[in-house]
C-alpha cells in the first residue's frame, strides 16, 4: 500500500528526515509517535506530497514519486489515493459542513453535484454529524470541525487516510468524539497513518507503531508491544514520559 524507500527531506539546508524506510500494509493503522519536531508531520506530509522528498521515493497504492522526478501527474495520482486530515481542521470557511465534504467530489469531477451532496450527507451521518450538515464551520465546535474534516477525507474514498495530530488542537473534552470516529474507521479496515501523542489510543487502534526522533526511525513494530512502555530503549522513556508527569511542589 505505502512503501517509503531511503527517503530524506531537507527544508532549506536543514535535514528533517534522514533515510527513512517504511511499509504500510493495506487495511492497517500505523501510528507515528515521537517528540515534537522529530519529523513525524513532515513524513506524513511527504506521503501526500505536500512536502517534496529530497532523496528516495514514496509509493502510494502503486503510484511512485521519486525525488527529483515528481511531475504534476504523479502528484495527482498520489493525492487521488490519499486524503489528509489536519491538526487545525483546515475546513473551507465559506462552505457549510455538507459543502466542505462535497467540494472535492464536485471540483474533481468525481460525482455530479446532486450525487456528491448525497454522498456528503451520508458520510456526515456516518461520523454522527448529519444534523449539522448545513452549518458553517465557525458555528461548529472543534471536535465537530475535525469530524467534518475526517468526513471530507473519507468521502473521496481514498486508499489511505493520513491524520496529522487530529486531536492536538481540541479541548480535552472534545477529543474522545474524534478518537471514536477514527476508531470506527479502523474497525472498517480503512488504511490509516496517523501522527499522535495519544499513546493509549494508538496502543488500542494501531497495528504498527513507528517511533521517530531527530528525523530518523529509531524503532518500529507492533503498536501494542512498542507502546507498552516496557520495551528497552529510547521509546519506553518517551512513552513513559507522556504518561507519568509528576510535578514537584
Amino acid at each position: 500500500m505505502i512503501k517509503v524507500k531511503n527517503l530524506s527531506v531537507n527544508i532549506g539546508q536543514k535535514p528533517v528526515l534522514k533515510q527513512i524506510n517504511l511499509e504500510v500494509e493495506e487495511g492497517t493503522v500505523t501510528a507515528f509517535v515521537g517528540p515534537s519536531g522529530s519529523g513525524k508531520t513532515t513524513l506524513l506530509r511527504t506521503l501526500n506530497l505536500l512536502q517534496e522528498p529530497s532523496e528516495g521515493s514514496v509509493e502510494v497504492n502503486g503510484s511512485v514519486a521519486e525525488a527529483g522526478h515528481i511531475s504534476k501527474q504523479v502528484i495527482a495520482q498520489v493525492r487521488q489515493n490519499s486524503a489528509m486530515v489536519f491538526q487545525q481542521f483546515n475546513l473551507f470557511k465559506n462552505k457549510t459542513a455538507l459543502e466542505n465534504v462535497a467540494a472535492p467530489l464536485i471540483l474533481n469531477g468525481q460525482l455530479p453535484k446532486a450525487a456528491a451532496r448525497q454522498r456528503a450527507q451520508e458520510v456526515l451521518e456516518q461520523v454522527g454529524l448529519g444534523q449539522v450538515a448545513h452549518q458553517y464551520p465557525v458555528t461548529l465546535s472543534g471536535g465537530q470541525q475535525q469530524r467534518v474534516s475526517i468526513a471530507r477525507a473519507i468521502a473521496v474514498r481514498p486508499k489511505v487516510i493520513l491524520l496529522d495530530e487530529p486531536t492536538s488542537a481540541l479541548d480535552p473534552e472534545l477529543v474522545e468524539s474524534v478518537l471514536q470516529t477514527i476508531a470506527a474507521l479502523a474497525r472498517e479496515h480503512i488504511t490509516m497513518v496517523l501522527v499522535t501523542h495519544e499513546m493509549e489510543f494508538a496502543r488500542q487502534i494501531a497495528d504498527q507503531a513507528v517511533f521517530i526522533e531527530d528525523g530518523e526511525i529509531l524503532d518500529q513494530g507492533p503498536a501494542k508491544e512498542l507502546l507498552s512502555g516496557d520495551q528497552p530503549g529510547r521509546i519506553s522513556t518517551f512513552v513513559n514520559s507522556l504518561e507519568k508527569v509528576e510535578i514537584e511542589k
Binding site: 505536500l50 487545525q88 473551507f92 471540483l107
Partner: protein
C-alpha cells in the same frame, strides 16, 4: 447670523440634477478601478518577475501623485505629446484618471485580502487533489471578497468625493454647479454647505447599502448559537478507561 435658510433649501432643486453625473463618474471609475486592480493584483502574485515589477511601479506611481495632477496630465498633458488624445472629453479624462488612481489602492487591498485567507485551506484542498485554480475561485476568492469589502467601500467613498476634482477639467458636476451658484449669489456658505450635505447624503445611502451587502456576505463567518451534540458531552474523567479497541 446671516444664514439664508430658504435660499439654502432652494439650492437642492438646482444641485440635485448634477448628482447623476457625479454618480456616473464614481461608478464607472470604480468599475474601471476594480478591473485594473484585479489585473494588478494578479501581476503582483505572479511568479513572472517583469509583471511584478510593472505592478509595483504602477502602484507606486499612481499612489504617489496628487489626483489633480494626474487629471491634468491626462486631460492637458497627454494631447500635447500624443495628438490622438486631442479632443478627449473631460468626462472620459476624469473617469480614466480617477479609475487609474483608485486601481493602485484597490490592488493593494485585493492583495492583502487574498493573503488573509489562511494557507491551511489551500493546503487541505491540494491534499484532496483539487486544482489551485478551482481552489482560488471556489474557496479563496469568496473569502477574499468579504475581507476586501470594507476597504473597497472606503475607496468608493473617497472616489465619490474626488469626483469633485473634475470641475478643474471644466466638467459641470455637482461641485462645479455649486461653485457657479455661489459665484452668482455670493452666498458661499449656504451653497457649499448644500453641496456638502448632498455628498454626505449620497455617502450615507451608499454606506447603508454596503452594510446590507456585508451582512449578507458575512453569514458564513458569523458565530451563532453553538451546537454541541450528545457525542461531545464532557468525557475527560473517563478518558483513561475509554476503549477504542478495533476488534
Amino acid at each position: 447670523m446671516n444664514f439664508d435658510f430658504s435660499y439654502f433649501l432652494s439650492l437642492f432643486a438646482q444641485l440635485i440634477p448634477y448628482v447623476p453625473i457625479t454618480l456616473l463618474m464614481a461608478v464607472v471609475s470604480m468599475v474601471l478601478a476594480i478591473v485594473l486592480g484585479m489585473v494588478l493584483t494578479s501581476f503582483e502574485l505572479t511568479k513572472v518577475t517583469p509583471l511584478r515589477w510593472f505592478a509595483r511601479f504602477y502602484i507606486s506611481l499612481f499612489r504617489g501623485m496628487p489626483t489633480l495632477v494626474q487629471l491634468f496630465i491626462i486631460y492637458y498633458g497627454l494631447p500635447q505629446i500624443f495628438p490622438v488624445f486631442r479632443g478627449i472629453p473631460a468626462l472620459v479624462a476624469a473617469i480614466v484618471g480617477l479609475g487609474f488612481k483608485q486601481s493602485s489602492y484597490l490592488a493593494e487591498i485585493f492583495r492583502a485580502a487574498i493573503g488573509s485567507v489562511d494557507d491551511g485551506q489551500i493546503e487541505a484542498g491540494q491534499s484532496l487533489n483539487i486544482k489551485r485554480s478551482k481552489l482560488f475561485f471556489h474557496v479563496v476568492l469568496p473569502q477574499a471578497t468579504v475581507n476586501a469589502l470594507p476597504a473597497t467601500g472606503n475607496t468608493f467613498v473617497s472616489l465619490i468625493k474626488e469626483t469633485s476634482l473634475a470641475f478643474a477639467l471644466g466638467l459641470t458636476e455637482l461641485f462645479a454647479d455649486g461653485k457657479m451658484l455661489a459665484g452668482d449669489s455670493f452666498k458661499y456658505f449656504e451653497t457649499y454647505l448644500a453641496v456638502g450635505v448632498i455628498y454626505w447624503i449620497i455617502i450615507i445611502i451608499y454606506t447603508w447599502l454596503q452594510s446590507i451587502l456585508e451582512n449578507a456576505l458575512q453569514k458564513p463567518y458569523r458565530r451563532v448559537a453553538h451546537v454541541v451534540d450528545q457525542s461531545e458531552k464532557p468525557v475527560r474523567e473517563h478518558r483513561t478507561e475509554t476503549s477504542f479497541e478495533t476488534n
